[in-house]
């Protein structure tokens, strides 16, 4: 960086506001769709692990191994099959969310008090209806605690996707390095953190709305 270059040139941000908004939208899509897909996989998988305990250990081993693989390497493995597309970023990010979401679904279901389970059975709920209408709603706070962690990590990881040309706001990180110009990098970091923290706050709000009965209790990650 040349001497006298400020950390942030506000002028640049003003000039690029529209473009920044576009990349922000892309970034949100790349970061949040994997959480949604992860949830679609984790809820049935977590229910299965809760129902059949022997399944849980091997599932945890696999999700933990997937989580431990650095994103850059995982992106490259998928490039072969899905090309330099958004899918190549979203599939690994989806896999990462499983290591948080599956245990939280299982823990959430385990947090259902036994008397509640028995009361539901006594009222004539079958196993499927009991899970969907009684146990899952009670598990919501724990599940959302997992969704918060998954969403925040996912949003901050998207930037690495820029190395295959699909990084949302990560575009400004590589651009800043190429131009030896810190403003776009700082802007991207701040925007990504704002996206992550706003999403986190909205999820806390969603949890309050979804579980009105636990409004006075504080559940955090």
């Amino acid at each position: 960086m040349s001497d006298g270059e400020p950390l942030v040139r506000w002028q640049w941000i003003g000039d690029h506001a529209g473009e920044l908004a576009d990349y922000t939208g892309v970034h949100l899509r790349l970061g949040l769709l994997p959480v949604l897909f992860g949830l679609i996989v984790s809820v049935p998988l977590g229910i299965a692990c809760h129902r059949w305990r022997w399944l849980y250990a091997p599932v945890l081993t696999v999700t933990n191994i997937l989580y431990s693989i650095p994103s850059l390497a995982l992106f490259m493995i998928f490039v072969r099959y899905t090309g330099l597309t958004e899918r190549t970023v979203m599939i690994p990010l989806t896999l990462y969310t499983l290591s948080v979401l599956v245990p939280n679904v299982v823990d959430g279901l385990a947090s259902v008090p036994e008397p509640v389970r028995q009361a539901a059975t006594a009222l004539g709920f079958g196993p499927v209806r009991r899970v969907v209408q009684v146990e899952l709603p009670i598990a919501v706070p724990v599940v959302i605690a997992g969704v918060r962690v998954a969403a925040v990590s996912s949003i901050s990881l998207v930037a690495v996707g820029q190395l295959i040309g699909q990084g949302g706001l990560g575009y400004y990180i590589t651009r800043g390095l190429q131009l030896d110009f810190p403003t776009p990098i700082v802007t991207a970091i701040v925007l990504i953190m704002l996206l992550a923290l706003t999403t986190d706050a909205l999820l806390v709000l969603a949890q309050r709305l979804l579980t009105p009965w636990s409004r006075n209790k504080v559940t955090s990650s």
Partner: protein
């Protein structure tokens, strides 16, 4: 399936060609760089994270600050931070290592804190009741009981450090990420996938080390309740 076998063959050819095993751009040198970056930053992060985590967990003071730092830290795009550090400080190892340490502290800190805080107050009082000093309560009761969570924090930090050290190749550092980044810029797919394979292997080794560590250091009495990691 055929394509998968082709990829495996490609990786195999790359791994077995002798040029990968010599010189500054060989696997041993890159792996040594990667392990040095990761090991040094994990060591410093562990010293700082454990010290503060134990302190805050034991005294209960600063709990809110610890939780906020951990939450905020998770939102930082590690790739962006590393690139910013190189843009501001130039291409040298130390500033990047400082960033790696900073990124690795929060998971260690929060898990150590949660572990110590989660120790049953009855157990803690019993320890005091049999005449242990505060220091003994911490070292002989709270630390052993929170080891599963402390190890979880260290493992998450290790995973993050190894991954961030990989992307640090993009702004020009060494380490295993070099193969991937150089392969991408030269359009050399074999280099990309070979490098990725070595990174995956390293991740597996990290995972195995922590699983083994858990078996060795965690008291058998705690294993049942700690099925999470």
């Amino acid at each position: 399936m055929n394509d998968f076998l082709n990829q495996v063959r490609l990786v195999g050819d790359w791994l077995t060609s002798s040029q990968q095993w010599h010189g500054d751009d060989g696997i041993p040198h890159r792996l040594a760089e990667h392990l040095t970056y990761s090991g040094v930053s994990l060591l410093f992060a562990a010293l700082i994270g454990l010290a503060f985590g134990l302190l805050v967990g034991h005294t209960g003071r600063g709990a809110f600050a610890v939780a906020s730092v951990a939450n905020l830290a998770r939102a930082i795009p590690t790739f962006g931070l590393v690139v910013l550090v190189v843009t501001l400080a130039g291409l040298s190892t130390t500033p990047v290592l400082v960033a790696l340490v900073a990124l690795a502290i929060p998971p260690i800190l929060i898990n150590t804190f949660e572990g110590v805080r989660g120790v049953d107050p009855v157990t803690r009082d019993a320890a005091r009741g049999v005449g242990m000093t505060e220091w003994e309560v911490l070292i002989r009761v709270e630390v052993p009981m929170s080891l599963p969570l402390i190890l979880l924090g260290l493992r998450i930090a290790a995973i993050q450090v190894v991954a961030t050290a990989t992307v640090a190749a993009y702004p020009g550092l060494g380490g295993l990420g070099r193969f991937i980044v150089d392969g991408l810029s030269r359009n050399d797919y074999q280099l990309v996938i070979g490098g990725s394979a070595v990174v995956v292997l390293l991740a597996l080794v990290v995972q195995i080390v922590f699983t083994a560590l858990r078996r060795v250091v965690v008291s058998p009495g705690l294993r049942v309740s700690a099925s999470r990691s």
